[in-house]
């Protein structure tokens, strides 16, 4: 499964719910597949999608927030997972697309082949799931539909062969339309 396929499956399942997506190819893929006002594309500040998502989740307890993260992003801000585990937001679903690569910067390796992010999240009090096939991903999404978070789904993906277009919406516009969607 490549990231675009996983994003496509998730988009169909979660409909118009809010997504905070990490910088790089993750936001680009989401933008190309399913652009909508309730997507917050974090185009800089690598590592912080989960922190932004936590702030939103704590302030909007009746809404569910999906974080689209990558292995490089998670490893850059592991402390955020600890804070999420400690604050226990019930409405936060943290999805990590793990290709063990910094794909956006040329495919350099991350350490996620040696350090299992899924186990780390479990230790940090998340409910955790792991998907390697499309079928597994669909089943997990079905199972967590009404489940209380924080939930982390680690999706093992392979390197994409094509690159999605850049997010060409102005940052302030991204923020404004996202805020209006809340």
């Amino acid at each position: 499964m490549i990231r675009k396929e996983a994003i496509s499956i998730i988009s169909k399942k979660i409909g118009n719910q809010s997504i905070i997506s990490a910088n790089g190819f993750i936001s680009r893929d989401l933008f190309e597949i399913n652009d909508k006002n309730s997507n917050f594309y974090m185009i800089g500040s690598m590592g912080l999608a989960s922190s932004i998502g936590l702030g939103l989740a704590l302030k909007n307890p009746k809404k569910r927030f999906f974080i689209f993260d990558g292995d490089g992003n998670v490893l850059m801000n592991l402390g955020s997972l600890a804070t999420i585990g400690a604050t226990e937001p019930k409405n936060l679903v943290h999805i990590v697309f793990d290709n063990s690569l910094h794909e956006s910067t040329g495919g350099q390796p991350t350490i996620s082949k040696k350090i299992d992010i899924h186990s780390v999240a479990k230790t940090l009090k998340y409910k955790t799931y792991k998907a390697t096939t499309k079928n597994e991903l669909e089943n997990i999404l079905h199972r967590i539909k009404k489940m209380k978070g924080p939930i982390l789904i680690l999706i093992k993906i392979s390197k994409s062969k094509t690159t999605s277009k850049r997010v060409d919406i102005d940052a302030i516009k991204i923020k404004q339309r996202f805020m209006e969607s809340l």
């Binding site: 800089g44 912080l48 922190s51 702030g55 302030k59 923020k175």
Partner: protein, 162 residues
């Protein structure tokens, strides 16, 4: 700054609708933070950038936020300030402890204490140094700026050696 004034600063901001106080502690502002704990309003994070990310999510939820940190943490946060707070124009108040203000502060603070005003200027971040006379006017100034959607900085000087 005296404990009584630090407490007043906290309560004044709280009364004026600042709802979230997120950050990494600094001894310079320990009375401010302790007052916040008494009111159950403090969220301590692992790093300063994380606090800014959380505050960004809270501010986008239309809930006013303050991020507190030592100036060492301010130095950590430069990229987050430029590529998140300023790029998206997300309002928040930064409360920064000015270590290295006194010449005999611990050596790790000397350099950052010296360049702090220049860093703020280079970032075009508006700031005011709090003191026992101007604290209320400075808080009003900061509240006005975030109401207008702008981030700004309040600075607490480290005026003691322990």
């Amino acid at each position: 700054m005296k404990a009584t004034i630090q407490k007043k600063v906290f309560n004044y901001l709280l009364k004026n609708n600042v709802k979230n106080f997120v950050g990494v502690p600094d001894s310079t502002m320990k009375h401010f933070i302790n007052e916040g704990f008494k009111k159950n309003k403090i969220l301590i994070t692992t790093r300063e950038e994380e606090a800014i990310g959380i505050a960004a999510g809270m501010s986008m939820s239309r809930s006013d936020s303050l991020v507190f940190m030592q100036n060492a943490g301010f130095a950590n946060s430069l990229s987050t300030i430029t590529s998140l707070v300023q790029l998206y124009k997300i309002p928040m108040i930064f409360l920064i402890g000015w270590r290295g203000f006194l010449k005999n502060d611990a050596p790790e603070h000397t350099k950052i204490g010296k360049i702090q005003p220049k860093l703020l200027q280079a970032l075009s971040l508006q700031s005011k140094v709090l003191n026992e006379k101007n604290w209320k006017a400075s808080c009003d100034w900061a509240l006005q700026l975030i109401k207008g959607g702008k981030p700004c900085v309040l600075i607490l000087i480290r005026d003691f050696i322990d």
